[in-house]
Symmetry: C3
Subunit: 264 residues, 3 copies
């Protein structure tokens, strides 16, 4: 973590509402989607914005097709900058359907990866097996993020089911639960085919669950704005494109028009 004096916002007149917690944070998390950054871009991004990145997800199965020297270097850099890095849930699901889940966990552990995602966006995963997977990951020494929601177009889950799964997963040992939004943020979960947020749904979830352990995937800027409006500056947001990290941080601090007077 750099000192605030390393930024203009650390100086008088440059941080309008002073709402932002520094790293390591427990809320206000920003989770980036890396769907194939080159190593120089990855390094460049961390040099610029590591103070504003809490998690990096190596999207879907891209970890499997990244040259190992580059993958290893990304993991080392993330660890150095205190960013939690992990492969997308689809990679976990691929290993599971092939009956290679032990190999999967062991390989990730060997790579110094410390977080894994347990999901059933594409495969069927009965509740008992879901719990077992979380506990197995914990047993291998991982912190666990689970994901709720199917990746099929138009798929939605009821709020009561969401709350139930959320409580189940935390109880089994998960640290965070992600609400599916995909890379596009369209026609999935809380997003209409045009990417509009189902604000009523978010408000109801927000009333029933403290947002501390929930992460909302919100790839589009106007979705981030909407979620920050409902949940507050410290909403945990995921699937943020690498190019939009400073933009989201500006939104969180009231340094962009859409949230300028929000924390006043």
């Amino acid at each position: 973590m750099r000192q605030p004096s390393m930024y203009l916002w650390g100086k008088k007149g440059f941080d309008p509402w002073r709402v932002r917690q520094s790293k390591p944070r427990t809320t206000g998390l920003t989770c980036v989607l890396d769907k194939g950054l080159g190593l120089t871009s990855f390094y460049d991004l961390l040099e610029l914005a590591s103070d504003f990145i809490d998690f990096i997800k190596l999207g879907f199965g891209t970890a499997g097709i990244t040259p190992l020297p580059i993958l290893r270097e990304k993991i080392a850099l993330a660890n150095k900058y205190n960013i939690n890095i992990f492969p997308g849930g689809t990679f976990f699901e691929a290993a599971l359907v092939q009956g290679e889940i032990q190999t999967y966990f062991r390989t990730l552990a060997d790579l110094q990866i410390k977080w894994v995602e347990i999901s059933d966006g594409t495969i069927d995963l009965p509740l008992a097996r879901r719990g077992e997977m979380i506990r197995m990951a914990r047993h291998f020494g991982f912190h666990v993020i689970t994901e709720i929601g199917k990746k099929e177009p138009g798929s939605v889950i009821s709020i009561s089911q969401l709350v139930q799964l959320y409580e189940h997963d935390l109880k089994q040992g998960a640290s965070y639960v992600v609400i599916e939004g995909r890379e596009t943020g369209e026609n999935i979960g809380i997003y209409s085919p045009e990417g509009q947020v189902n604000t009523l749904y978010v408000e109801q979830v927000n009333r029933r669950i403290r947002p501390t352990h929930l992460i909302w995937e919100a790839p589009q800027t106007h979705q981030q704005v909407e979620l920050l409006r409902i949940i507050g500056s410290a909403a945990n947001l995921g699937n943020i494109p690498p190019d939009d990290i400073l933009s989201l941080e500006a939104l969180r601090r009231g340094l962009r028009s859409d949230t300028f007077f929000l924390w006043k």
Copy 2:
């Protein structure tokens, strides 16, 4: 400025319509929106395309959350490549509402920044105060770009108001006036919610104001095409995404289909 011989277009057969002025230009300006490039990306972009970039705007308040060593290096690089760099107007507005405008100008001057943007996209700024801000910026030694237009979705300004503000700002000392288009180019000013250009509006403004000191924010390719069609190859265009600079330059030169026969 590189010599034309450093490009294929400097050679016979490679520059169809020869419409393009070299840097430093007074029209045909391309203004890039940097909403958080890493330092290597920034350098990489200037090495590639500095001949086609006249201004770089550090979008909204991102200058405040860029590590100072990186911010300083960006400014030094821009100055070296004869590109005018300045922070977005929202950063100015944030300083103003906090009563820290003197600190703001002094800090930017200390950073060797030579241009500032004066805007009221989010805050209220009475005309007298707007003029005062322009003059104060000039007094600090800055060149001034002002912006016309509110950032609120759907907001439009009448043509006569636009012309009046334009003349006011230049008279107070502004060098350029920007027409608001935001990062998206959707549901704002001349853009419909789907990003379609209000061509009638642009044509009327273009009839009443020589386009020399106007900059139209036009983030989407088809918007750039439309504005080049109406105003000509030398339209001043802003909020160009860094990835699209060569594309816009190709449009300006008739090296892309949409403008291929336009300057014939």
Copy 3:
């Protein structure tokens, strides 16, 4: 080509359906659209993903406005990584309308470029002249990619015309024929104004032509998914944005939800 052992997918449990051919490939080609990458970004991309890139097109006329030292270095890098690099067809068309086609071919040959695109997306090119251009390019020692389709919004070509042109071009010496999709994949050829794929059209073409020498421009992810579904994992796809190469490769291998069970 790196060894499979350089990737996780080379290991047990990480390559679900094993459908993918290694480079040099004759089908399953991925053609990237470079519309202005900086040299570091270009190198960074090849270091990461050269095993999954078969062609790089320097979009439209961008080759003409890339500083020559950078252009030369891009060509050298592409050659080193066994990637075929070539300028977009619009650049060819610009040279042709100026009566400088010999200069064009000679200049590209001097630059060590080995592939050219022959197209009439913007200009008129009678069939006899089209054949002549293909043969002339071959005579200069180039491999030839031709393109079928006009760039005008909404333009479509009949399937029988497409098949005829395809056969004509191969007979005259072309190695591949590209179906126009532009950078956007919207309101052009097989794409509706919203970017939806005309699946019936693709299915019918796929029934009449073996897909080996056809390349479909498919810039958007859901378009890639649709074409892979119809044609199979080894469809040749073009105009892939640089950021999406690993994503497309994951789709081809069943490592992303949309194609997870497709090759089972």
